[in-house]
Symmetry: C2
């Protein structure tokens, strides 16, 4: 379950403050025009937060709370800002995973878990068309969501551009790539591995912008790997290369 | 959902025939002594099939069927026998995955999917303490269960012995292993990769019998990888080594 914030003033404060990540807002249909509602909608648009107008019945589950027709879904974990992450000092190279539309919360949690095991630094994901870090994701990650920087962005392609401008190499996984995932050298650079959505892969703008395109070879004509398994294979190829170069010291 | 076979005579035929894999039998508690029930129990013991006596209420879901207090859960897919698999001709080396107590059907299905993508030949799993191939597994495998030999065995340690006697090298994954998964050479041999249960890892007899013990290095002090992700990493290390040796030709 997500956490919730109820009521007009509370939601306005939440949206103004901007510290906690709001995955969506729901508002009751046919409410009277009201300046607070207008303010909430303006703030939501400004921050790129999804909002929905739902019939009264949908609010029955919240009847014990004074919601005034406004409920915000808030992530139970703390997100950090991409700029803040980029400013962090690290003596080694930074490694991040970008999920471009991984909608299944089990897969998303599972990717976060592998990234933590492999010592990666952050997960970057878009606020739309991707699972947010809710309780299912937290559980599937076996609690790993609290062990890595989680960065939710409104525009994933801007985030990828920003990574590139900050000395990151962008590695996109793509079924049609020519290179295999083990053909590139992951050592001695900051990099971001981009995993696409289960159904549609990586969006074309990001794919076009990537420095490397890699695939995991299929040895049968079978469809494709599960996205979390595919991510694990690539994530650990980088671990392996680095460990082998450094004489296997963890 | 599993498939079912209902009724005493049908279940006797099913157990005698031995072609379709029966994951378990349920019998109604407090039935009168009856030679057919005795015969069913004898056959079940002989074939190592789990059976449970359950109260009448548990049979309500089957009330439209003439079950006579006996229901067999049958896998929707066809299993093959280990001996039959070992006799199959293959010009190349054989590669199998052994799951020793992977109980989560999503993980089990996901492992089967990766094995099919990577061109492995079979999945071997025990009839107890492991998911059987039910509809959840089939779905999680994205249908891959129909693209690989599925071998359910009563004793996994006997199966591992049989593999060893048939020119297979047994590779066990173990958190405490000294070697990393990429330290061994997967080329030019038949091999079986053994994945342990989510909670307890590989059983001690099998671990003792393994030719290689390998681990996936953890770069943080975080617990461990999801078993399906761990399997994918090892499965593809072997693919990669073989492809690199053969000049990258799939």
């Amino acid at each position: 379950m997500d956490n919730y914030v109820f009521g007009r003033n509370n939601v306005i404060e939440l949206l103004k403050e901007g510290n906690r990540s709001v995955s969506k807002l729901i508002l009751m249909k046919n409410m009277k025009d009201n300046s607070k509602i207008d303010q909430i909608l303006d703030l939501a648009r400004e921050r790129g937060i999804i909002f929905q107008f739902l019939p009264k019945e949908k609010f029955t589950q919240f009847k014990e709370y004074s919601h005034q027709g406004v409920v915000a879904y808030v992530s139970p974990v703390k997100y950090i800002d991409l700029d803040e992450f980029l400013l962090k000092e690290k003596k080694d190279y930074k490694r991040v995973i970008v999920t471009d539309g991984v909608e299944d919360p089990h897969n998303f949690g599972s990717i976060i878990r592998t990234a933590v095991c492999a010592g990666y630094d952050a997960i970057i994901f878009p606020s739309r068309r991707n699972a947010t870090v809710n309780a299912t994701v937290e559980k599937s990650s076996a609690g790993a969501v609290n062990r890595i920087d989680l960065i939710m962005v409104n525009s994933l392609s801007s985030a990828v551009d920003k990574l590139k401008n900050n000395d990151f190499w962008v590695i996109a996984t793509d079924l049609n790539a020519k290179d295999n995932y083990y053909d590139i050298d992951y050592c001695n650079m900051n990099f971001a591995i981009v995993m696409g959505s289960e159904k549609e892969g990586i969006s074309s703008t990001i794919l076009k912008n990537a420095d490397f395109k890699i695939k995991i070879p299929m040895l049968t004509d079978f469809d494709s790997l599960n996205v979390a398994n595919a991510a694990s294979i690539v994530i650990y190829e980088a671990v392996k290369q680095t460990m082998q170069k450094s004489g296997n010291v963890v």
